[in-house]
Symmetry: D2
Subunit: 342 residues, 4 copies
């Protein structure tokens, strides 16, 4: 089969022929229909410091997808041949303190699809049955593949409810943009989006932002304070991974408010804990992964019930072999979500 | 001034001339612009068993309104002359266990506006400043007066979040109809409304119901189970005050779900606690009043930010002197909310 | 092997020789050391209406136990031979809406140990690995076997926190007594226990009750109101399964308080929903089973860290063959928990 | 009357004669019986950078106390002459977004007793009635005066429940020590306390710490990981205001756990947000002040019901005129709480 493989400890990947993987008793073989590119894949392509530290070639990359089950192991019960599935990208252990306590999204022994286990940028894929999600028929393939990052957005927004609350979203990459749509669907009364990329700011308006600001041209704090009559926002959702944006966010939260943080930072961060967190009695939620599978149910319903239309975020499609074009677009920020047709 | 006064221990009220009330140090005199009729007022008009037990004539009735401050007591600081205000109808004591613990909506010594304190169906009204709510300029008078019952709906819906959840609403009186709009605005993925009144079911569709059913013609349980693929609904919101509807609601909740109950019952209720609550691990929320003032903030934002348009629910307007026409319409169920122009 | 088997559609059970059960790929064979009797077992013994409707002979009964793993299936990874284990009594399906949403305690397809699957009143027992709990070394066998009902108590108490709150416990059977110890350990400031059985009331005092009342001799409402300066209690925990007790409980809750209900009722219940729930804005939690395994972690810690000493509740021990003596004691209420040594 | 007054923009205070203050319509005059010293008072005495920026002499200092009402304004209703009272130290405005939403502990316009309003280190004190707390008769004066800082501890511990959870407490000043007792009373299964001051570590053992460690001699992370079988703790409570301790705390939290932070830092802090918060999905609670008055109810019950005995924390008593001895002890850390008898 054809697959995008990270073969060397160096920049780049290879589109090459590899053997179709074998399945075990509880595994499932899936024919991939559509995959999509995440920032993680770009890090691996670029062989950044994070990738050098975390990734061991050779490995097929990619973790977002939709496909059909073509073969199941003898002990498999959750799915059957023909089911159209996507999957949770965290292959959890099922037996650590976290898994046993209902927090498997922070399993201490998880393997990451496309990093620790061969990924989705391939014609076929093998996964253990316990991570599979059967897709709602109403959700088209291009929406099904983006459920994994959409789930990140769901958990970031819904760490607490946003109904009739004012919201600042920092960072308008694909997850920030999905978040904008979700906050809108869940009754946020004001949505301000901040991002230095005007292409993405334009999409944020389509997703429901009331105010879209470029922090290189406008003072975020000033805009937020004016829009909230000096109360500040009830909720900040941080996706930028930028220390300065984080501090803007903390500064603009109203006392008693909350911030959810999904963005990853290049280095340790520096914050005014006294003034911006303690004296304001702020709640900070670190967010990673998705609840398995309660977040998937929510994601599926946001998409299938017409509550969020992700179409404006899906900006480009390529055949799998042209994956490098997608990688480049993402580095340049001239895109929303990039789809790979397998 | 002119006012609608319950003068006797008997059916009916009188539209008559009464003195303009006096204010104390912390009180405010308000010129009423618009009031609206609640089911409670109809009970008082009809002199039902509840009213006979609870109400002592003579008293000006009504508790929903919007008006302008025309005079303030010497110690008043929260409002000034000219402010356009509505008010929390529970005149709380501020010093009981509940008030001191942040649950003043269940104050043990509250006085109810229009029942224990002269009400809003009058040209002028006196209220202590601590129950006043300054209205958002974007909210027109007809919307401002319905904030009090709208707040009941807010607290019923948001006892837990409804985002990407399936919801059954039992009872489509004005509060059930506001609730439909709020559930829609907060991201419910399926909204089923049940009411025997077809006039009101039609309004529920305008407010966002996906399915509107008449329980006299359709089996509620059957419809809900079909629409949810036999899972049942995550959330039931009960406004009917009907024991049979309550049991339908409990039966259709998915295990682990919740019900919020605002409806008032004619007598004690009979339920299958084992099967419908305990073995399904259901959470039941009794709902009364509104959080003072956090619910008012939410209400104001749902209305001012365009999240919920209550227009379809406001079906009739009368001058104050024709209040009896409104009372009659409400008894007949041939209306949504009835407005009284003062 | 020897086992206690319900063999017929009639009152009674048989202590008889049966074959040692076989294991599948993901199953485990356990040698039982100690088991304990639950009210459910007494219902099955007595062949009550519930049992006739729910139970199909022949079946080995019992669901509380501790034992050692003696053999494991080829695919088993969670335990190894020699591990000292107990087990969650709900054999969940792992794939229904509830299991997938993190509420497997209300799995829609669960099988109950000792009812739908051969139970623990036997020398050997087979269980699927996913329900097994590895016991903390500090917990002796007699405490390990009662973790299952202790977990019911944990979830009933901790539906919301009880720290510095006043608590009324209705029903002082073994679970009500464990609950008393847990409420004490979690910082309840006042614990009132009500039960018509003086033997059990005496144990409740040892478990931490400040006030133990016999409702046949004292007015529960009066005692609670006096002890709480007429506020009522913040929390009611109901285990009696008695409609009258339930109503006493609802009546004595302070407005804004909560009740958790684990008791099972003989028939439908009758309550004053308006006065006792809605106008007081009460939260009602139906409780069943235990969170898998977060409740087990808590249970294990309450016992192993010395937070709750269940010794006063464990009143009788018999060899397995004398199980009928235990059944009789439980019917007579002249005991706390009854242990069966296998 | 005699009072301790900060008279100059310089180090030190003066014990001097000043006029008894006058009361307004809603004010109360209190004869102070006992006061106690907070770290804030030491900052003001020492005229630290914070004090220079925040405090304007002349002003009577101190905010912890118990006393008796000796005179009330004409409009006062909450208390009467003779009541034994303490007070919330935040004189809230009652009309900002926070006060109106039920978060008055982060009122945007509050005045701090002993900083913005004449304080408690005096024979008499005037306060608006709305901040007064009537003391439970069972609580002696020395316990009543420490309810204010004890309330900080209550809110830090109970941001989420700690029942059957493992807890690390960083910093064993008076609030950290109260916290130790509260965590014990609320069912924490393991309490580790870390502080470089051995005098205070010894008190922490008396308050319920299972393990007391001096971070200058032992590796906090190592001790915690060993005591928790490498899981880390469920809960960290941070009072040290030390960036290094904060990072130790974050590092030792188990994925999915939480930290509450009350400690104040000398400067901005530096943390590894990715690794210690985001990838572990940690919840951070900034804590300040106390819920008015729900925290006061809890505090009162912890003390009056015998759940926490603060005696080991109260180490020194002085007459008011010897306040400087107390200030010195606190700077040297050779004390727990220091009481001033007025």
């Amino acid at each position: 089969m054809k697959a995008v493989v990270k073969t060397k400890h160096a920049k780049g990947m290879e589109y090459k022929e590899v053997p179709v993987p074998k399945i075990g008793l509880r595994d499932v073989l899936i024919k991939v229909n559509v995959a999509s590119i995440c920032g993680t894949d770009v890090h691996i392509f670029d062989w950044t410091r994070w990738a050098q530290h975390r990734f061991t070639p050779p490995r097929i990359t990619g973790h977002e997808f939709v496909g059909n089950v073509v073969k199941i192991g003898e002990e498999v019960t959750r799915v059957k041949v023909g089911d159209r599935v996507s999957a949770e990208s965290h292959l959890t252990c099922g037996d650590c303190y976290q898994c046993n306590n209902g927090y498997s999204e922070v399993c201490r022994n998880f393997k990451l699809l496309g990093v620790d286990h061969d990924g989705t940028f391939a014609e076929f894929l093998v996964l253990p049955e316990h991570v599979l999600w059967k897709n709602d028929q109403k959700i088209p393939d291009e929406w099904a593949t983006i459920q994994e990052p959409f789930g990140n957005a769901v958990d970031t927004v819904l760490a607490e409810d946003v109904a009739a609350k004012t919201v600042l979203i920092l960072g308008a990459g694909p997850i920030g943009l999905f978040t904008t749509g979700i906050a809108k669907a869940c009754g946020a009364s004001l949505i301000v989006v901040s991002d230095p990329n005007n292409y993405r700011l334009a999409i944020s308006k389509k997703m429901g932002a009331h105010i879209a600001i470029n922090p290189r041209r406008q003072d975020v704090t000033h805009v937020v304070m004016e829009a909230t009559k000096n109360n500040g926002v009830d909720v900040v959702l941080e996706f930028s991974g930028n220390n300065q944006a984080l501090n803007q966010g903390l500064r603009t939260i109203t006392p008693g408010g909350r911030i959810s943080i999904l963005g990853i930072y290049e280095r340790r961060v520096n914050i005014d804990l006294n003034k911006d967190v303690i004296f304001k009695k702020i709640r900070i939620y670190g967010i990673t992964g998705r609840k398995i599978f309660s977040t998937w149910y929510k994601t599926s319903r946001f998409l299938s019930a017409g509550l969020v239309d992700p179409t404006p975020v899906i900006t480009h499609r390529f055949p799998l072999k042209d994956y490098e074009k997608g990688m480049k677009l993402m580095k340049d920020g001239k895109c929303g979500k990039v789809i790979l047709n397998v």
